[in-house]
Amino acid sequence: MSGLGGARSGDGAPADGAPGATRPADDAPVAAGPADDAPVAAGPADDAPVAAGPADDAPGTAGPADGAARRTSPRVVLAHTITFRQARQLVPALIPVAAVTGFDGMGTVVLLAAVITALSLAAAGLSWWRFSYLDGPTSTVVTRGLLTRSVRTVPNDRIRGVEVETPLLHCLLGLVRVRVDAAAGAVGTDAEELLVDGVTPAEGDRLRAHLLARRPDGAAPAPGVPAPGPPPEEVVARLDTRWLLYAPLVGSYLVVPLAALGALFRFLDELPRALRPDIPGPDLGEVRALVLVVGAVAGLVLLAAAAVVGAALVNWRFRLVRRGGSLVAERGLVTRRQTELEIDRIRGGTLSEGLGMRWVRAARVTALVTGLGQAGRRGQLLPLGPRTEAAALLGRLVDDPGELRRHPPAARRRRLARALGTGLALTALGAVALAALGWWVPLAAGIALTLLGVPIGLGRYAALGHAVGPRSLAVRSGWLVREQAVLERRAVVGWQVRQSPFQRRAGLATVTACVGAGSGGYAAVDMAAGEVPDFTAAASGPWAGALAPR
């Protein structure tokens, strides 16, 4: 075992941490074209043209301790065995086996459980044994894989965020899980992620500090040596426990208890009849309506309570701290998460308000960070809070470009036409159906949809707007979730202008600012076509003048 361990650290850990020294075992993402890495390219496995030049780091920072690969704590084997982390994918394969051997009573169940547990233990043990990581001075290398060895090298200056999370089981075992996000480039997958599962909290903190050591001020502390005193902290935002009461009005928190309920029903449905609890249907009789109403109210109250509990679990004691050159968000009751974002990489933010949140003037704020995977979850700077707080926080992140400009009345007609279209078509079909077949349901549904379409269309129009300030721009749209994106000018890496035949007739166009962060693009829907060249030129560099008529 020790021999293999030595061989592993030999092939997985280049002495100088240069990415080119590793095997091209991993994912060279999309063949880099001629514009990319030709001159500097360190090796075929790497997609990072600018990465890992030794000039980037002060030479000689590599301490002797950094030569050896590190491993995770063996206790993680226990955690993975219990959660069947590796064995989960084997379960579907085992079910047909069980079906063939016959599913006859408890004996099989116990045997099956024992086999799965043993498999899980073996898989967890093997993957722990074959896993090692090394955070060198210029790049980080993770080596893993049972049969196929995979060596993934990420240059440190491509690392965009480090997240330290503590699931309940890890907490009991005194472990943490570290996720490292690296710039994904144009490909936008989570493939560029390193996961170091099961290190001690102290090691987790050391990793985070080391990987994000490149501060904008250039004061990179030598790895291994603790930084001279913790950098000053400033609490930027903090969750007031009362704000959790907004949760029942937020779609995403309502969905979770509903999904759990659905899963429970499905499970009950699939149980063998003998095991199903036999609940006799009560004789309702004339109290039936009352029972239904009480049941519905109780259900709603329970749902609201579940949403609050769910929000509390995820966001408990949320606080956002500025520490040196990064923002650190901490939250969670059972699983405590710490997400660290480099302020230098933040290009703007979004303020989103769901339909229910708008009633109580609540909002959430998400940062747009270049090259951050799963930005929606990781970039959250204020999960839930009053709109004024959210707007103030967004204002600290990026300059306020000023009041939004409304879009022309033609945009209102277009939103209404689109919202009413389905309803009107169904109404017409319904009228035919009533005349020909005597069915009144389609007509009623069509009329209801049409009536519902009016507020939706007007609401959609009311959400539309755009603004340009000296250093930033803003666009807003959406009805179910109204989202306002505020972007720095330098964030814009391209413009996309779309015009459908209907928009052409109405003199409108949809302008999308392409951004290397968040969802990749933020659109000003249905703005006046004549304003497009001025807007794009004002909201980005002089290069956007190419759109203007000559």
Binding site: V30, A31, A32, G33, P34, A35, D36, P39, V50, A183, G185, A186, V187, G188, T370, G371, R490, V493, G494, W495, Q496, V497, R498, Q499, S500, P501, R504, R505, A506, G507, L508, A509, V511, T512, C514, V515, G516, A517, G520, G521, A529, G530, V532, P533, T536, S540, G541, P542, W543, A544, A546, L547, A548, P549, R550
Partner: protein, 170 residues
């Protein structure tokens, strides 16, 4: 093509005429596949009275004929008027689409990758596509169907210039 309500000007350069041939070929191929499906429908679905099937037996072939005429006889020439491209001193600028049109503008300083791809049909017509990628998943410019040597030159030129003015702030 430029009307009073156009949101942006037309890019300066049009595509080679052989792009029309490529689009016609593409349309013919897809029409052939659709035609096989339509013939199968007519052969294997009997016109049961009392259902909408007899009507559909008329509508489906008519719809197919309209599609074939538009896709083969009209759309390629229409597309050739819409598809335009230009490389200015600072940006790559294209217009694509047909009924709905899309203008895309990407500054050369933000280019991350330039790819040249040649599909099977494109090779028959001596054409290639230049794809210009940025850090944004939506900010990709594709210059469709350039002559192969032009595409190669454009890609090399863009790559060189991007190298020279690259702006690291994505």
């Amino acid at each position: 093509m430029s009307t009073a309500s156009a949101p942006a000007r037309d890019p300066a350069w049009s595509l080679p005429r052989s792009a029309i041939g490529l689009w016609v070929t593409e349309s013919v191929i897809s029409a052939l596949f659709l035609g096989v499906a339509v013939v199968a429908f007519l052969l294997f679905v009997p016109p049961e009275p009392g259902t909408p099937l007899p009507l559909l037996r008329w509508l489906v072939p008519v719809g197919f004929a309209v599609y074939a005429v538009v896709a083969i006889g009209i759309r390629p020439w229409f597309k050739h008027r819409v598809y335009r491209w230009e490389v200015t001193g600072e940006a790559v600028f294209t217009r694509t689409g047909w009924l709905s049109q899309t203008w895309t503008l990407v500054p050369i300083s933000r280019i991350q990758t330039v790819d040249v791809t040649r599909g099977v049909l494109q090779q028959l017509f001596g054409l290639a596509t230049v794809a210009v990628l940025t850090a944004s998943s939506q900010g990709t410019v594709r210059i469709w169907h350039l002559e192969h040597d032009v595409a190669q030159r454009v890609a090399e030129d863009l790559a060189l210039r991007a190298e020279a003015v690259r702006d690291e702030a994505t």
